[in-house]
Subunit: 352 residues, 2 copies
DNA sequence: CTGAAAGCGCTAACAG
DNA sequence: CTGTTAGCGCTTTCAG
């Protein structure tokens, strides 16, 4: 206390925060130098057991919490991974982000989250601030980005992983699957169930390029596969919701009276379609077969249970984490191993 | 040493990253001092138009991206808000986090995300690393935390907001609603529909304290309201999924043969219950009335449409953001305004 | 194995 | 309005 009054140099001009316990304080108490504390924190084994014990004690009595901001600055790369997804409300991305976050947290990496809302300009802004953190890696969704985004990222030298899509030229690395192939699988499945008048029901396909690619893969496969097959793509401009699914089915029925098979861009849409069929007394799968995409929570339990394509958002999260961690440990994947295909699985249930 | 200083001083010992463009570089090109650049970046109006233009030009030609890590260190508080939720897979929290992220991003704040998976120890660990970022605020879910978490947070001096629950003593500030009251509303509603043998179907209530509180509010209201009312609480130890809902309904029917009303801890459970009723040919709402919680995407569109209690995860996100931003702008709410009740709304639909 | 020294890139008084 | 001056708390050579 008296030190305080005698000379003011330890008194903050503005006590904005409770005087933070620093590594210096720990070092003093443990009677070692700050750099030893730093070393202990990063490689405990490199410090003598005696010193280590002292340091550990000091840390706990002082309640020391390392300042990662300072660490990040000194180390020139912070323990942060920036993830940008269209929307976390989308169960697909929620799953991936959740897994990714867990995997990275286990290695002491933090996740910074941003939502592009399917906008390339928004994404670019997010990338810009993401880069401000000197992140250990940046994770983006999909392969479509503005040229500004691409440049920014390339100039930064930060590892970039694009997820949930492969089949184009990634900026750096990519983990995902081919969306046209998903569409094709859906079409093939419907065709194999004797579908002759089929439709793809999608939402927000102006912005959701991946959904649009599933649709075109679907259409192409339908065209290729058989002569007397009618195939339509129907888009709902709003979000992919259950309600949109009901709307879309109604529209499909209007456009294609003898509709006998639909593929939905998302299980929510499929569920909406299922409900609409139920309301109209249309039998699924006898009159119309339904295949979804996503294998969401309810898909196995709804009535009838939903045939769907599972993209494994989980696996994507795991693989992205693996790539990031490898990068941090100095192993930079090269060549083909920079693109990982997590594939997709068609899960057949009662709706087809 | 001298060799070093004579000509090598601009060469990094280790070219770990593409030489980052710093504020210094911008200053040089714009022929002003670094602090002027810094000032310009924070308050453009405080710099002369001429200098401002030069700086702006320099920034764009150099492609300068400010380093927030350095800024955070210098300013002793980073532009980061740490959010800890049980799981982002849960649509409730996804909604709140999404809104919160958008609101904060608009003010230049980043969101760091962590998942406690309903574990207090995990939460404590997350809080510890969150604090390492000297965040502008920490956002937690619920009012139940380990004493360690509480202490850590209190000692840090960082603004803390607990969300999705009020009714206890918050660490600092709270935004949410009363869960017992939600349970009570559900019970009252069921009772008003002539329910006499009612049950609360919940999941993971050992860990999900808020769900447990909804259950007890439900049971108490039932007890208080009428004499000849039977009320049971049934818990599924696993996650709150559609499948769990089907299971729970089956168990409820076993335990209470004359069951005529159920309240579900979550709309997913309610949907599962609805499906199970359909499978068993039980009419909803005639034989059993169903009320959910969450007003999820499908709740308005399912068959029958689901009566549910809407907690407004959106509004919670907005209010949390408001509180955080107020704090940053120096207005620290005091007294009762530190606790915000966002309430709940019962949305009556066909299932009751 | 430990410590001293030199910054990381930026902000924030303060003085000009 | 602009520049100077100190650090923020930590990491990282490099010597001892």
């Amino acid at each position: 206390m008296e030190a305080d009054s005698s000379l003011q140099d330890r008194v903050p001009r503005k006590r904005r925060k409770m005087q933070r316990v620093t590594m210096m304080d720990v070092a003093k108490l443990a009677q070692v130098s700050p750099s030893t504390v730093s070393l202990y924190l990063r490689k405990p084994a490199a410090v003598s057991p005696a010193a280590g014990q002292e340091i550990a004690r000091a840390i706990s009595t002082l309640g020391y919490v390392p300042n990662l901001v300072a660490g990040g600055l000194a180390a020139a790369s912070s323990k942060v991974v920036s993830i940008i997804v269209p929307s976390i409300r989308n169960a697909f991305f929620a799953e991936t982000v959740s897994t990714l976050q867990a995997e990275l947290a286990a290695e002491g990496l933090q996740v910074i989250l941003g939502h592009s809302e399917y906008g390339e300009d928004q994404e670019e802004a997010l990338v810009r601030t993401a880069l401000s953190w000197a992140p250990a890696a940046v994770v983006l969704t999909g392969l479509s980005h503005s040229t500004g985004t691409r440049k920014l990222l390339q100039a930064s030298g930060v590892p970039v992983i694009e997820m949930w899509e492969i089949g184009g030229k990634p900026i750096d690395m990519a983990v995902g699957f081919s969306h046209p192939q998903v569409g094709a699988s859906a079409a093939r499945h419907l065709l194999s169930k004797e579908g002759r008048s089929i439709a793809f029901l999608g939402a927000r396909m102006q912005e959701d390029h991946r959904a649009a690619k599933r649709a075109s893969g679907f259409a192409e496969e339908a065209k290729r596969a058989a002569e007397h097959v009618t195939c339509e793509i129907i888009n709902h401009p709003g979000a992919a919701t259950v309600e949109a699914g009901s709307l879309l089915l109604s529209r499909a029925l209007q456009q294609i009276p003898d509709l006998d098979g639909i593929a939905c861009s998302n299980d929510l849409i499929a569920l909406g379609a299922l409900f609409e069929c139920q309301r109209r007394g249309i039998d699924v799968p006898d009159r119309i077969a339904v295949v979804g995409f996503g294998d969401l929570d309810f898909s196995a339990s709804c009535i009838p249970s939903l045939t769907t394509i599972r993209p494994s958002g989980d696996l994507i999260g795991k693989e992205v984490a693996r790539l990031i961690l490898a990068g941090i440990h100095g192993e930079h994947p090269t060549g083909a191993s920079r693109i990982i295909d997590t594939g997709h699985v068609l899960v057949e249930r009662r709706s087809t």
